[in-house]
Subunit: 292 residues, 3 copies
């Protein structure tokens, strides 16, 4: 059995609090009213780094898409060249347990909501949209939760773009569910080979490893491939589609959902470890030096 | 531990009853007496749709192959351009629970017998043949149970041919064991990407997704590749080969075998659901309209 | 939880006993003191067949590498054209239970130590080196434990070379952990297709099946690719890298570690079975006839 309500009280209320008076980091836009297609767009400059607020706004956008009766969600970035750089590192470096819990609660919600799209009942509404990621820029670290949880992934063929889990490069291991999600999509071998060494790869290599489903060369091709993907998914019974998805994903969802508290404790302990904090500090210093 | 006798009493007696006075839908033919090679051939016009009777005859043919001491079975269709279109939809649309149980019992037997070939003891005889699927035509929906359960799959390279699980296109999800079998062979990602959208693919894409092992361009090449496959498999110890197969398949076999009744109930409830019946009705009407 | 001490008392003492007065079958050499790179080299003529003594020396070399504070181990053969032919068959044919236990204990240690490198604590020292296999010759049967357990695999592109699990060709199934390891790396389908028929494949096919990660054309390219692999792995936090590896491998390690005694009994029963002994005898006779 799947949890019938993944959006927890904490997240929804957190949502409300965070959104009052704060800037917009995620935008929900209607694309095609007749087809029920909406887009959820990341717009937190400069790199869509995922802080707690962005995650909360993302969770709220999913809920709104749901309530609007959307049949499909296009997931993308409004910033040129970057889909998302992953978790906001300043949420981790120099943080404390209370702040980490606030941040990571939203992240857990985001992951379970998105990976479980189609499978969960939110506020008595049966979620029934397909999620297509349009990856036009770098997509790395925590942002892989967004792309890998989607139903289908289109990525720009621009050879300068990079994707992958590079957490070990800044001294930490990704949370276990992120590694499991990567393994779910790309298999044991690709996962170990790439994630252990924190390797980022280009679009062609990502296609070969199964991390994305199709590449596009330009905006026109992106539109065309989005159209054909949409038409394929919207042609089939949403219920039957969700039944298939449940068969394939429920195992991982249940495992992660039932281990939330454990995952939270492990995450906090790990990040607050003095050696990890030192590694994070060094990494942030390096980034600053680069910019200067 | 694997079940030692998968052919249930019900199926064997069902077999007998169904076969008396009915036409031949499955034919067992000797191919090479010296090598112990036989073929099991589907011959139900126009598309080898799998009804309960075809499944019962198939199960009986497996038993006979076994009793004859066969070392290898070639699995194929006698109809040009079609391997099999899958379950006979009129077995599902407008049916009732009793008829569904009769149908689905034979289907469960067929799947477990074929997927467990080499691993099970039927009537005290140790099954020890390798199954090679020769796919010369479309192979879709329930028929994937035949191809994916085989030990090796050869498919015609004719680009017009299609294969896959397209059940969601007619409003239903495939039974869980069929999805699990697809995932077992092709991996999580190929499975979700293709099965959720009910996508059928051509031979080249099927080869790349791992759904078939080799393509052949014509009859001569089919014979040649069948020969070399046979010689590879027949050269090794049948017992050692079965031991390897057991290590890899027993998990899935045991899970499905122990959940037979549950699977039966789920299947009947699902198919008899009024929304699913409506979807099936619409799909059959569309097919009729196409033909007219 | 992972076992904190995989090297058992038996193996370490076995080690000592076997090494006193015996020739050197495995050599530990320093490669680059500044980078902490060492090599473990197999040197048992003519084919690096793995007997109990070779396995014991290998286990000791791993311990020594550890104690020396190595950060990376290059795994290779000193013999031209052969990485290793796998288990020494004369350890199996005509053996008795006592000798088999002695042999197989070292083999189990070797596998768990190597597959669990980075994850286990040996004599209070946290193992933290990456293992790169440099496969310049045939690598088959039991020797796959060496290559598949490594973190990264480079193989010569020489098309005459062969790799795979060919045990069924000499009448036995590989031990379950070896099959599971193959499946872990190459997936269900590649595993069943290749291992059931005992098929050996060339470097290009091995690359496509995921059994190796990269090919090299000559010694210069081997050096270059080893360098770049080392620089990638040594650039990341060893602790974070080990954390990722643990997430991916601990399941399989725990399963196999907790079933050691069972595996030992199954191995001995299997090998001592009169039919298996007959098959092994036939195979060894064939080999002798070939040489004569």
């Amino acid at each position: 059995m799947l949890p019938t309500r993944l959006f927890s009280r904490v997240a929804v209320s957190g949502c409300r609090r965070l959104l009052s008076g704060s800037s917009q980091l995620v935008q929900l836009r209607e694309q095609s009213a007749s087809d029920g297609v909406v887009s959820i767009e990341l717009c937190r400059k400069p790199a869509n780094a995922m802080n707690g607020e962005l995650a909360a706004q993302f969770n709220k956008a999913l809920l709104q898409a749901e309530k609007s009766g959307a049949r499909a969600v296009l997931l993308r970035s409004q910033l040129a060249g970057i889909f998302s750089a992953g978790f906001e590192l300043t949420e981790l470096a120099g943080s404390n347990r209370e702040r980490l819990i606030e941040f990571y609660t939203e992240i857990q919600e985001l992951f379970l909501n998105l990976f479980g799209t189609d499978l969960v009942v939110i506020a008595q509404i049966q979620v029934r949209f397909v999620v297509i990621a349009q990856i036009q820029g770098h997509c790395m670290a925590g942002a892989m939760a967004l792309s890998l949880s989607s139903d289908y992934r289109l990525m720009s063929s621009n050879p300068k773009l990079l994707t992958g889990l590079n957490e070990t490069q800044f001294g930490v291991a990704p949370p276990v569910w992120l590694v499991e999600l990567f393994r779910f999509v790309a298999g044991n071998r690709n996962c170990e080979r790439l994630v252990a060494a924190g390797q980022l790869i280009g679009p062609q290599a990502a296609l070969e490893a199964g991390l994305v489903d199709e590449l596009f060369d330009n905006e026109a091709e992106l539109l065309k491939k989005t159209e054909s993907t949409l038409s394929r998914y919207l042609a089939v019974s949403p219920r039957a589609r969700a039944d298939v998805k449940r068969m394939l994903r429920s195992n991982l969802i249940n495992r992660l959902d039932s281990a939330r508290q454990e995952d939270m404790n492990a995450f906090c302990d790990y990040v607050l470890d003095s050696r990890v904090q030192a590694q994070l500090g060094q990494y942030l210093d390096k980034l600053k030096a680069k910019k200067a």
